[in-house]
């Protein structure tokens, strides 16, 4: 036990001392900070649109539309009376980029509800939604007034609806919006994939290093190969947890300085709307860390076996591809998992030990997972870890002392049986 402990400490201390550890410890929060700032910058970059409203109406309708558009944040509208050649000259202005577009309103808007918008960019949902919203309000008001309703009453009756979505988790409302759930699920999936891969590969190179330097002979004459492998996996695992802690602290610090940070890029006011920290409950955090550890143990055992059967770093990088592919399955399915977390496919992925470490936390964040499924998935994951570690340890034991060509599948089976 003391020997395993020494192996764990060596893996931990040597890794913490490396500059790569601290670079990634810094990059984590930088990435997180970018997540806060970038959306705001983008929102700003959307900017305002300069449009003309070609007024072909007989009443005050056109003027009201202009007023309505000016009330919003997106459009700087100017009223242009309809006339011969107006459309052509405006089209030229748009072509010369002096104008973003123009809206043509006639009396038909009130009658049939149709208007025309011509612009250099008509694919922005935001722009179109705003135009439709303003036109509808003004048209409804005009119709009501024609029926003799007091304009003051119309004004009071007008209500803008903003839909506030909240996710129900268990039977509690979490205060999490749909977008936040999605973002959280997605970010968790990406982080899990990256970190399991990075630290799995860490275990692999550590094994390969001991093999190529032949120090493994001295080690294996002092402690059992299984002890060495477990110590290595636990040591690297401890480093990854430490990394998470650093990232967590960094993120917390950034979050507390969010206002200052956003003020720096000139978007403090919009900050609260654009970026809201997804609500990370203790349960979600627990699921995330639990599946991270499970996934890490599962995959690093495989990576250790891969390292043991390769005689140099290059060979190992090739041999790890099947392992990588296994983890990729859940990763590439992530879009499906977040959009349709209750589908049979998603449930199956979250139960299979090889895909569960990514699939289950993603599902968990995106929807409400029944307790039975969570327990079942965890049980299968633990069983998977035990089985995979057992097989990996046998491959590892034979492999670390081998030199020469990489074994084929038949030889691997023999190694496993030889135990």
């Amino acid at each position: 036990m003391r020997k395993i402990w020494a192996v764990i400490r060596r893996e931990f201390v040597e890794r913490i001392r490396s500059k790569w550890f601290w670079i990634s410890a810094l990059l984590g929060p930088v990435f997180f900070g970018a997540m806060i700032v970038v959306p705001v910058l983008f929102a700003g970059a959307g900017g305002t649109r300069r449009i003309a409203v070609v007024d072909g109406t007989t009443g005050a309708f056109g003027a009201r539309v202009v007023a309505g558009l000016r009330g919003g944040k997106i459009f700087r509208a100017t009223r242009v009376p309809a006339g011969v050649g107006v459309v052509d000259s405006l089209t030229q202005l748009v072509g010369a980029k002096q104008l973003d577009g123009f809206l043509i309103v006639t009396d038909a808007v009130v009658e049939t509800g149709t208007a025309e918008y011509r612009a250099s960019n008509v694919s922005s949902f935001r722009d179109v939604a705003e135009l439709q919203d303003v036109l509808a309000r003004v048209a409804v008001a005009a119709r009501l007034e024609r029926q003799g309703v007091d304009p003051a009453v119309v004004g009071r009756a007008q209500l803008r609806i903003s839909l506030d979505t909240k996710k129900i988790s268990g039977s509690r409302t979490t205060g999490e919006s749909a977008a936040q759930s999605f973002a959280l699920a997605y970010v968790m999936g990406v982080v899990l994939f990256l970190v399991i891969t990075i630290y799995g590969v860490n275990v692999m190179s550590s094994v390969v290093e001991e093999k190529t330097t032949r120090i493994v002979e001295v080690l294996v004459s002092s402690l059992r190969p299984f002890q060495l492998m477990i110590g290595k996996v636990l040591g690297v695992g401890a480093v990854s947890i430490f990394q998470f802690v650093l990232w967590g602290l960094g993120a917390k610090l950034l979050l507390s300085q969010r206002q200052a940070l956003l003020a720096g890029v000139g978007g403090a006011e919009e900050a609260r709307q654009v970026f809201q920290m997804p609500h990370l409950s203790a349960a979600t955090l627990g699921v995330f860390l639990g599946y991270f550890l499970g996934g890490f143990f599962l995959y690093s055992a495989m990576y250790a076996a891969v390292g043991a059967m390769s005689s140099n770093e290059q060979e190992a990088r090739q041999a790890q591809q099947p392992v990588m592919f296994l983890l990729m399955i859940a990763y590439v399915s992530m879009f499906g998992l977040t959009n349709n977390p209750e589908s049979t496919y998603a449930v199956t992925l979250s139960l299979i030990p090889f895909t569960a470490p990514i699939a289950m936390p993603v599902r968990w964040a995106a929807s409400t997972v029944p307790a039975a499924e969570l327990v079942g998935s965890l049980g299968l994951l633990v069983a998977g870890i035990v089985a995979v570690t057992w097989v990996a340890a046998r491959i590892y034991r034979v492999g670390i002392l081998m030199t020469g060509k990489r074994p084929n599948v038949r030889e691997l089976v023999r190694w496993v049986r030889a135990g």
Partner: protein
């Protein structure tokens, strides 16, 4: 201290060690000699429980248990040296001592002592890959003795060392023996073995050719050995050397000859015959054969090319 009983190890289509038995008494320096590919490293790996013998048994300290079970009492220097290249020297040797069950603080104290002794004091906080090859070998040697083993197993300890470091290492080995440590080392450099070993075992192609105390081997393996130097005329030396009743083997250089006398032959009679034939002698010396000669005689030229190397998929011999 260490006993091998009919130990056999086969790799795919190749027997690396074949029914090898040997016994290493406590407190000696024991040489395991043999040409390349004779099975020395395989034997040592079986002693260290890195690989298991297919047949036979290895018994250590007269107690049950494998080399790994007794690892705290054994120091091992493998043939292919290897250290964690990016670790600091002190951390590395302390870690390896911990692998042998030494408590951390004690390991640090002993490490400081030995690093200083081998002139590595100034390098203890440097990374291993900043050290020269010779220094790395010394670091590795330190790591094999830090836990005060009773048995030291050194696989080709002098390979690749310069004369100065060879001397340093030799002194350390001799001193350890004086402190009661039993040392088993493999080599194919006979001069070294001859000077260091109390006992030895010569193997070739996995089989034992001879073992025992060096003096006994010299006595029993060959007859009297004679070195003759001429001072000008060799007289009728050539005819005399050709007499198979007197001379069993000869290596004649003209002005110098090494011969092995036939059993029962009298060296004094040969001397008289040489003088009578008119030979002028500069030297006439009865001596023991060198270990090198015994080795060559026993192993024979055919052993210079070892049997086929093990299958690429198998462990190295």
């Amino acid at each position: 201290m260490l006993a091998l009983d009919r130990v056999t190890k086969r790799f795919a289509g190749h027997t690396a060690v074949d029914g090898l038995s040997l016994s290493v008494p406590r407190g000696v320096i024991y040489g395991l000699l043999g040409p390349n590919g004779a099975g020395k490293t395989t034997t040592i790996r079986m002693i260290m429980d890195i690989i298991e013998p297919d047949e036979g048994s290895v018994r250590l300290f007269g107690e049950p248990g494998t080399g790994r079970d007794h690892s705290a009492r054994i120091g091992y220097l493998p043939e292919e040296r290897g250290l964690y290249r990016r670790m600091r020297v002190l951390d590395l040797v302390v870690f390896l001592a911990e692998m042998k069950g030494v408590e951390r603080r004690r390991a640090r104290a002993r490490a400081a002592l030995w690093l200083e002794r081998l002139g590595l004091e100034a390098w203890r906080l440097r990374r291993v890959d900043e050290l020269s090859k010779g220094m790395q070998q010394k670091v590795q040697f330190v790591s094999t003795i830090l836990h005060e083993p009773e048995l030291l197993v050194l696989d080709e300890p002098f390979a690749g060392l310069d004369p100065v470091n060879t001397q340093v290492l030799k002194d350390a080995v001799v001193e350890l023996r004086r402190d009661g440590v039993t040392i088993l080392f493999s080599t194919h450099i006979m001069e070294q073995a001859e000077k260091l070993c109390d006992q030895l075992c010569i193997i070739a192609r996995g089989r034992k050719l001879v073992d025992g105390a060096l003096a006994d081997i010299k006595r029993t393996q060959t007859g009297h050995h004679l070195v003759i130097g001429f001072d000008g005329a060799p007289g009728a030396a050539a005819q005399l050397f050709a007499d198979e009743r007197v001379v069993k083997k000869v290596d004649d250089y003209g002005q110098y000859a090494e011969l092995e006398l036939a059993p029962g032959a009298d060296a004094q009679r040969l001397l008289a015959a040489l003088v009578n034939s008119g030979a002028r002698l500069a030297r006439f010396e009865l001596s023991e054969p060198s270990l090198n000669k015994i080795f060559l005689d026993l192993v024979g030229p055919e052993a210079a090319t070892p049997a086929a190397r093990p299958h690429p998929g198998g462990a190295r011999a």
